[in-house]
């Protein structure tokens, strides 16, 4: 039987009860406590939840997930003897949790207040609710750890697969139930006595087992032109979005959470604004999943540990998130996890570490910062699961470098691990070029792996078109340096034309407004069509220039400014067809 501690477990405390020795912010030291590393403990008279993070002689150090003001030395500390775990089962979608998986709606009700009180616990999933279970095995079948034994319709979009917990032995099925059950009712019993219910528990700091990690070859289509078009991420890939404040990390993460073609989205608001989570809670139920047409909330699980909530729970919230993501991956789903912002997580580590008076590493961060970041992103990937299905976890982390300077430890250590880098740029943001992703600095190491998919599913010359766009933008970059010195009119005509084409690439292709309904999601076909229309203009224009037509005549054709309007057309297909022929016609009429 699984004996991990989670809020759903009995809070009986069998092992040694200790006594508080000192209190310093979120860090409490206790004596006479019989505990192991990472055990969950209840601290003080109010029973605040905490986790053991250091043991030295008789002194046990605990990080407390709730405010500690008023907690005094001498108060008791009780050990649960179990590591910090999450409840896994139906009911996690369409839910909003704090950093230790307490449902925030349940807390509101229990506390009868809009403000978060202390010492109130709630299980991660509803223990009373009954779910319709349909078995997929029958008595006499043999099942192994990880195998799917039945399904539960969790939301309109998602069938929740009930699996044999990974730590089970497995064996021959003795009996099977069908119908409505609570998450703790056994629905499948094995001959060896193991009982399988809809709920499992799993310690958050431990990766859930799989058979193997595979090379990802399918893109996580984001519906964002600059990402799909230039810097794609794979299903099972990793990406970082670093940028100074106000450059668009959260808007990009929200767009991905809305439109990426994942089956499941786990959104972790880690140490950021309360209103941003409220926005998700209010918007997502109204928005359509572009893949299924159902409400977006039906595929989304939210974890909100905002900046004013306790710092220790901020440290744990990314683990809570990725464990939930892995669990849906085990069912064979493609899961996308967004963490906004991983810098706040790193700062939480730093704060706890400094209270422990550990030897600080670079900029006060603990020496194990790089290892923790690597461990986290390593949990992403495209996997073959224990039950033979394939599933993926894509991890996309925002990074908030102090002063917007990417040379700081969190950005640097993240860049060493992730394979997609979307660099946000204050300068672009200032001129309201959104998404403010810098096309010179950003990269994706998945490009070659994903090209075959785009060639097959969108257009054969997808990679060539991309290369053309990159070349034009590169050339623009070089020319701009000259323009800064002598002005545009001093350039030869062909270079002036390149600048003009590059401007359309920037304004009509790279820019995408996340707040305009028709533009916030751009299918790859449309992404391709915009690019190819701009290329048509480019080719026709250069032919005309070669034929001796003055550049002013070419650039002032009526059709050209429409290149910037394709993005906002409802019926872009017709628009593109007409625009292409208009451009050709108008330019050719010049010579």
């Amino acid at each position: 039987m699984s004996e991990h501690m989670s809020q759903a477990s009995e809070t009986e405390t069998t092992e040694g009860t200790g006594r508080i020795k000192s209190v310093s912010g979120p860090v409490v030291k206790a004596v006479d406590l019989d505990a192991r590393m990472n055990d969950v403990v209840y601290v003080g008279d109010e029973g605040l939840m905490g986790e053991v993070i250091e043991i030295e002689g008789d002194v046990t150090t605990i990080q407390v997930y709730e405010e500690t003001s008023g907690v005094a030395p001498g108060e008791p500390v009780e050990n649960t003897g179990e590591p910090l775990s999450v409840d896994l089962g139906p009911g996690m979608l369409d839910a909003i949790y704090d950093g230790v998986q307490r449902p925030l709606d349940v807390l509101e009700e229990k506390m009868d207040s809009a403000f978060l009180d202390r010492g109130v616990d709630a299980p991660g999933i509803d223990l009373e609710k009954e779910w319709e279970f349909t078995p997929e095995v029958e008595a006499g079948d043999t099942v192994e750890a990880g195998d799917i034994v039945g399904v539960v319709p969790e939301t309109v979009t998602i069938d929740h697969k009930v699996m044999v917990p990974p730590e089970y032995e497995g064996g021959v099925v003795e009996s099977v139930e069908e119908g409505k059950f609570t998450v703790d009712d056994p629905v499948v019993t094995l001959e060896n006595g193991e009982e399988i219910a809809m709920r499992q528990e799993w310690p958050v700091r431990e990766q859930r087992p799989t058979v193997e990690k595979r090379t990802p070859r399918t893109p996580l289509v984001s519906g964002q032109r600059i990402l799909d078009g230039l810097f794609p991420i794979a299903k099972g890939g990793t990406a970082a979005i670093p940028g100074p404040f106000g450059s668009g990390k959260t808007v990009t993460q929200h767009s991905l959470a809305k439109f990426a073609d994942a089956d499941i989205v786990v959104y972790v608001g880690c140490g950021e604004r309360g209103n941003e989570m409220t926005e998700v809670i209010e918007d997502f139920p109204e928005l359509e999943d572009p893949k299924t047409g159902n409400s977006l909330m039906a595929r989304t699980s939210l974890i909100a540990n905002t900046s004013n909530m306790p710092v220790a729970a901020r440290e744990s919230c990314v683990y809570t998130g990725i464990t939930i993501a892995e669990y849906y991956r085990d069912m064979g789903y493609d899961v996308a996890l967004m963490a906004d912002s991983t810098s706040r997580w790193a700062e939480a580590m730093r704060e706890i570490s400094s209270r422990l008076e550990e030897m600080p590493g670079e900029e006060g961060y603990p020496a194990y910062l790089a290892a923790r970041l690597a461990e986290f992103y390593e949990r992403a990937g495209y996997f073959e699961n224990l039950n033979g299905t394939e599933g993926s976890v894509s991890a996309i982390g925002a990074v908030s470098p102090p002063g917007g300077d990417f040379s700081e430890p969190v950005t640097q250590n993240t860049l060493r691990i992730v394979k997609t880098f979307w660099a946000l740029d204050a300068d672009l943001a200032e001129r309201r070029h959104f998404p403010a992703i810098n096309w010179n600095e950003s990269y994706s190491l998945y490009q070659d792996q994903l090209d075959p998919w785009f060639e097959e599913n969108v257009a054969e010359d997808w990679p060539d078109k991309r290369q053309w766009a990159v070349d034009v933008l590169d050339e623009e970059g070089e020319l701009q340096e000259i323009v800064q010195l002598v002005g545009k009119d001093a350039l030869p005509e062909d270079q002036q034309l390149t600048l003009e084409v590059a401007r359309y690439l920037r304004e009509g292709y790279l820019q995408q407004n996340a707040f305009i309904d028709v533009d916030m999601y751009c299918p790859p076909e449309k992404t391709y069509a915009i690019l190819s229309t701009i290329q048509t203009y480019n080719d026709e224009a250069f032919d005309a220039l070669d034929a001796g037509v003055p550049i002013e005549d070419i650039t002032s054709i009526d059709a050209a400014p429409k290149l910037n309007r394709i993005a906002t057309q409802e019926d872009w297909e017709t628009f593109v067809d007409e625009l292409k022929s208009d451009i050709t016609e108008q330019i050719r009429s010049l010579y």
């Binding site: 000192s22 809009a114 309360g274 400094s354 009119d489």
Partner: protein, 476 residues
């Protein structure tokens, strides 16, 4: 209540004392010096047998013989609607000679975090009457929008103008009774007497004091007290907003002094310092203040925050503006060159931002064309700004006609749109129409961020014609 004469160490703003009973973290303390003076403090750290106390009024005069009393509770703010119209010091003691405050309730000043699930997304447009804000960086009820300024810039004038002019245009048919529920809370930390007078005079002149609560910690008041002043202000704000239904505007100035106080305490505790000597937990600490803005589901009121900070060296990568920007919902950036040019208010809209603007504007809220106009003006102003560097090198003649139009636009934008003075109150309609006047100096085809139908509706055909004519004349 037990008294201890067990002080073992006094260091900067900290006092260490031995105790023989358990003392809770953050508990309030009174220390009586041998000369009979009573100082207040708070337990920072509590260990078996010893506590670290942070003293608000400075540790001068405290010695080993001072007696220490633990009050058994954390710092509380007495709240009541009667606070409106009152002036208090930075610790919440009335200094206006008014009657004793009879509290409704005493509230812990370290407010509990708002459950994100209980929030309501802020989207009610506040008209400040300032074009650079309303048109380009719209403020909404429940937002936290700081002013990033520098020493010597007129941030106080702007804050006062906002406090004076802020209204929420009512929808047709709705009563006007909303008006009376507006309140201003002013939390001053380490500002000069002169600045304080500036605020108080304005409050008195405009009669705003009646609906204000003022907390004053002046430059010569104890620095440590500054760490509690904003918490008193916000506790009062939350009470008025969420218990009494007021729309509360909280002006906190100067957050830089608050952060200096944090640094001082951190240094005294010999903590490992973070960037530029500020504590590593400054982000969390500031978030615990700034996040106390917002709206709640099913509640009337709102807390809107306008914190003011002066950026040391006008550097927005300095930890104080940097961490603030990472928490607040945008920033209004004051600009020294614009100030020298005499632009009032000298707001540089390019690095300014209101993140809640997108949901607070548009049809039914402000105007259908608001977003497009603002977007286009940003892009055009940024382009004109860029060209200014080039003009310095090659001169205007070397630039194309298009470039010259953008240069003119940038000038007009500063001199006509941003420039308005601290006493002019523009409606949102006036602001957007002004925007169209300026945009119409650019050729229609350049307005690629504006919906074509809106261009048809609002573009001033004659403006560019007039412009073109003028050009032809000058070209002759």
């Amino acid at each position: 209540m037990k008294e201890y004469q067990t002080i073992t160490e006094v260091s900067g703003p900290l006092v260490f004392a031995e105790v023989d009973e358990p003392i809770g973290c953050d508990e309030m303390v009174e220390i009586e010096t041998p000369s009979g003076e009573t100082k207040r403090g708070q337990v920072l750290e509590s260990e078996d047998g010893i506590v670290a106390i942070q003293v608000f009024e400075g540790t001068t005069g405290i010695d080993r013989n001072a007696s220490v009393r633990f009050l058994g509770e954390t710092l509380k703010m007495p709240v009541t609607e009667d606070l409106l119209g009152r002036v208090m010091d930075g610790s919440g003691n009335p200094i206006d000679g008014g009657p004793e405050i009879v509290p409704d309730e005493r509230r812990d000043i370290v407010g509990a975090a708002i459950n994100p699930y209980s929030r309501e997304y802020p989207e009610d447009f506040i008209q400040t009457g300032v074009s650079a804000i309303d048109g380009m960086n719209t403020l909404v009820r429940g937002q936290k929008l700081p002013i990033f300024s520098g020493s010597g810039l007129p941030h106080n004038d702007l804050a006062l103008q906002i406090a004076r002019q802020a209204t929420v245009p009512e929808e047709e048919g709705e009563g006007d009774d909303d008006e009376s529920e507006f309140a201003v809370i002013f939390g001053a930390m380490g500002i000069t007497q002169e600045e304080a007078n500036e605020f108080m005079d304005d409050f008195e002149r405009t009669g705003a004091l009646e609906r204000s609560v003022v907390f004053m910690n002046l430059a010569d008041d104890p620095a440590v007290e500054r760490t509690v002043t904003p918490r008193l202000a916000l506790t009062t704000a939350e009470y008025l907003a969420f218990d009494k239904g007021y729309h509360v505007l909280v002006v906190l100035t100067d957050m830089t002094n608050y952060c200096e106080a944090l640094r001082e305490i951190g240094a005294a505790r010999e903590e490992v310092p973070g960037r530029r000597g500020y504590p590593g937990y400054m982000y969390t600490d500031l978030a615990q203040l700034y996040e106390r803005a917002g709206r709640l589901k099913d509640r009337e009121g709102s807390v809107t925050q306008i914190p003011i900070l002066t950026m040391p060296g006008d550097d927005d990568t300095h930890p104080i503006p940097d961490l603030t920007g990472y928490i607040t919902e945008g920033q209004i950036m004051m600009d020294r060159p614009l100030h020298s040019q005499g632009i009032k208010p000298p707001v540089n809209v390019l690095p300014s931002l209101s993140r809640l603007m997108d949901d607070g504007i548009g049809e039914g809220l402000t105007r259908a064309d608001h977003a497009d106009v603002s977007d286009q003006m940003y892009a055009a102003y940024a382009e004109g700004e860029d060209l200014r560097d080039l003009v310095n090198i090659v001169g205007r003649e070397a630039l194309s006609e298009r470039d010259n139009k953008y240069l003119d636009f940038a000038d007009a934008f500063e001199e006509e749109f941003v420039q308005q003075g601290f006493d002019t109150n523009r409606t949102i309609d006036e602001t957007i129409e002004l925007g169209w006047d300026l945009l119409s100096t650019l050729p229609k085809t350049e307005l690629n961020r504006v919906d074509e139908e809106l261009i048809e509706e609002h573009y001033r055909e004659d403006a560019s014609a007039v412009d073109a004519e003028a050009e032809e004349v000058s070209a002759d």
